[in-house]
């Protein structure tokens, strides 16, 4: 039997015209010229060299590419960059302020919540989105926040523990802030 692969011949590889998008990424306005088919994930990793966001499955199964888009945790491999025009996006590179780690980042170190570290950015961003929306989540909510983030090394118990710890750190800070405000 002889088969010739011709089925893709109709799919001419026409490159559609690149389009300009304006994104606010980690607080900085970025004007980027992208092909319409480029995903937000590829824009971050290729156009902006923000490689902390990881590509693993590239089809919305694993969560390694999770970033925060306008307050919500999103799989950046499932978003086209052009659809994010005007959005505010936070990536893992945007969490620490200089050398001061975000409480979730510090909790991940303290609880050994990663081994290879390839899922870590996504795990942290999912938890960051949760704590931004719900400062006092239940254990179930913490777990639910990372159910869409696969970890092949199996750091799950430590990831959940780190999430809990981050909640404690932030609620202490919040109560200290409240006390301060009350005293003023």
């Amino acid at each position: 039997m002889t088969v010739t692969t011709t089925k893709e011949e109709q799919m001419t590889a026409t490159v559609t015209e690149p389009t300009t998008v304006l994104l606010t990424i980690n607080g900085i306005n970025r004007l980027v010229l992208v092909e319409p088919r480029r995903t937000l994930l590829d824009l971050l990793r290729h156009d902006l060299a923000l490689t902390g966001t990881k590509k693993v499955c590239d089809m919305g199964n694993c969560g390694a590419c999770t970033v925060i888009v306008d307050g919500l945790a999103k799989y950046s491999c499932l978003l086209l960059a052009i659809d994010c025009d005007g959005s505010h996006i936070t990536t893992i590179e945007g969490l620490a302020k200089g050398n001061n780690l975000d409480p979730i980042q510090q909790a991940f170190i303290d609880h050994d919540a990663f081994q290879c570290g390839f899922c870590t950015s996504g795990q942290i961003m999912s938890l960051r989105a949760l704590l931004d929306a719900q400062p006092d989540p239940t254990d179930e909510e913490i777990e639910l926040a990372v159910t869409g983030n696969l970890c092949r090394c199996g750091a799950y118990p430590n990831i959940v523990a780190a999430g809990r710890r981050a909640v404690d750190i932030e609620s202490n800070r919040a109560s200290v802030d409240r006390d301060r405000q009350g005293g003023d």
């Binding site: 039997m1 002889t2 088969v3 010739t4 692969t5 893709e8 011949e9 799919m11 590889a13 490159v15 092909e35 088919r37 480029r38 590829d42 290729h46 923000l50 490689t51 902390g52 966001t53 990881k54 590509k55 693993v56 499955c57 590239d58 089809m59 199964n61 390694a64 990536t91 893992i92 590179e93 969490l95 620490a96 780690l101 980042q105 991940f108 170190i109 050994d112 990663f114 081994q115 290879c116 570290g117 390839f118 899922c119 870590t120 950015s121 942290i124 777990e143 990372v146 159910t147 983030n149 696969l150 092949r152 090394c153 199996g154 750091a155 799950y156 118990p157 430590n158 990831i159 959940v160």
Partner: protein, 769 residues
Amino acid sequence: MVTLNVTRKNQEGEVKIEVSELDTISPWSATESFAVVGKSVPRLEGNEKVTGRARYTYDVRLPGQLYARVLRSPHPHARILAIDTSRAEQLNGVRAVLSIANAPAIPWYEKSFIFDRTLRFIGDEVAAVAAETEEIADDAIRLIDVSYEVIPHITDLEEALGTNAPRIWPEGNVAGDPKVYARGDPEAGFRQAEVTIEGIYHTNVALHNSLEPHGCTASWEGDRLTLWSSTQSVFTVRQEIAKALELSENRLRVIKEHMGGGFGAKQISWKQDVIASLLSRESGRPVQLMLDRRAENLAAGNRNGTIQRVRLGALRNGTLTAIAADILQGRGAYATGGEASDVSGMYKTLYRCPNVSTHATNVYINTGPAVAFRAPGHVEAAFALEQAMDELATALDLDPVELRRRNYSEIEQIEGKPYTLPEGLRLCYDRVTEAVDWSTNQKWAPDGSKRRGVGFAAHDWVAGSGHPPGYAWIELLSDGTANVVTGTQDIGTGTRTGLAQVAAEELGLPLDSITLHLGDTGVGPYAPVSSGSATQATMGPAIRSAGRDVRQQLLQVAAVALDIPVERLHVRNGSVWNDQDAQPVATVAEIMQKISPHTLQAKGARSPNPPEQAIRTFGAQFADIEVDIETGEITVLRIVTAHDVGRIINPHIIDSQVVGGVIQGIGFGLTEERILDHRLGRVMNPNLEEYNVPTVADIPRIEHLHVDVADTLANSTGAKGVGEPPLIPTAPAIANAFFNATGVRLRSNPLNRARVLDELAGMKSGSLT
């Protein structure tokens, strides 16, 4: 100090030169007190990993870098009749195209080539493109026109051995000679047996699914090549790629700083290392070639499927008289190198038995090649042997742990050598059974459709001993800090931290005075592949060896500088102390300042393992599960596990690794299965959508009980490997718990709902209550 010994040996007419590097450093004693070793210090690369700044192979970005894609065979078995890449070459943005039409004929996989005219599985490499962007490379791949002659294929292990089966190789579908082992007289052993049990077990193909796929970035500068490769062995990649490209080894630098998992599949070099290098040479640009998830799951290794026919014979009192295992294991279409999947191993050694026979046949089938996957062979063997032992215990009406205790071996029975820690496995039995109150904790009344059960399984593991050669260099700098350099790699296991702890301890420096450099053939001396759970036990002693040398040099300098006899000086926590003085006499930095810009340097090497003993790691695991007999769902409630892995260097990291291993074991036991359509020869789930790795929602309570007994005969640090052991007993412990809950034995993994319901349907419903 390291002494080099070279001897010439005549073995069966062949002259062999044997080299050993011996350091007579005495091992840390079983009760040694430590400043840094044994402490749960956080991973040294933590900050990079939580901030996204850790640079993985996938993250390498070089000026002018191109991106490559591979066209893969759509047929399980075919010949390329014609290939036309002209349309791809003409596409704007394409910089290089390689195929059998223009690539050099570089041998690969024993008897094939990087680009071969014959394709032997869906996913086999047909052509490759480098382009300005990944998207353009994808477009170009679609523009390559190939005419295939489709050849009949075979993907079933047993059918592949049939006389009329399509042949993948001219010599047939048996890969290499069968591995045959016998000791004693197995048939006499079965005649002597008062009880014999027999079962056929199937283990299915599991996919590694490291989150970072295989891949690399290749960049030529003149006749020098730098290759960033996601690999467990920078030196294996250097050796194999230098050979493939006919390049001298010192012109090829292989770098792997951080890696997103390997689990065995990255312990050899793969075609993409060659393909990216060729594309880079062709285009004059750096080329990154990372596999996508589909390719990762088709063409970059898998855990071999097995069919194991197991027979055990025993006396009424439980004493084993014979063990026999007939094993088929799938090789895929090609034989790869690296750690062998020795399914026979555990049958020979885990239990005391005078009469053992094993027969293992590797079979070629039209799928991607199998390669080592975390405890290769042992995970598969444990699923069968540990269920067979349970079955034997039932037949004898003996407690399954008691049966194992009655067949305890303190010697390695293949070579007849005593174990370095003969009580290791017994300690694991004791820890686990005490923690779960094993003897009484076994029967539950049915709760609606729910049944509960507990199970037990044990394991040994051969490779956690570590082995020579492996080297380390240490340089103590003018400010009292040290660079520790080795060519080993941290594949996510915590090697960087564990080895730095050993260095700090031996040098007498605080941990933050140590910088460990690894994963770069251009920087560090040779270290072996990070596999076999061997890295800590291989490289720890090499680092101690170098550290001891540097420390002695430091004390020699300090003695002169301080005018105190050297035998009264010692170094601890970054300071030099005079015997029992309450205060240090000087800091290490102050001593080093006095001789600046001189530095103190030494080379360390891994000494040989003891010749008269055998080193093993052992473990025992308990599973407590709930089965819903109406839905077929198994819920694991609790896993308790103990492993003799020698001295624990970092308790927190070892807990993480053990828990993570158990979680992979739960995946192997319950959900993970590469599904093949044999008619099409097609993998139906080469993705993370339908290949189900455990999620956070699938995790039970997992308790790791520390054995933590230094194996002082094994090596100078007393530590053995832990990477692989934890998942070996998980699936059989769960399957044994399933039997305890239902009275039904599941002889194929994974124990998913479909299998559970099928097996339960075979039982009369009344017998389940």
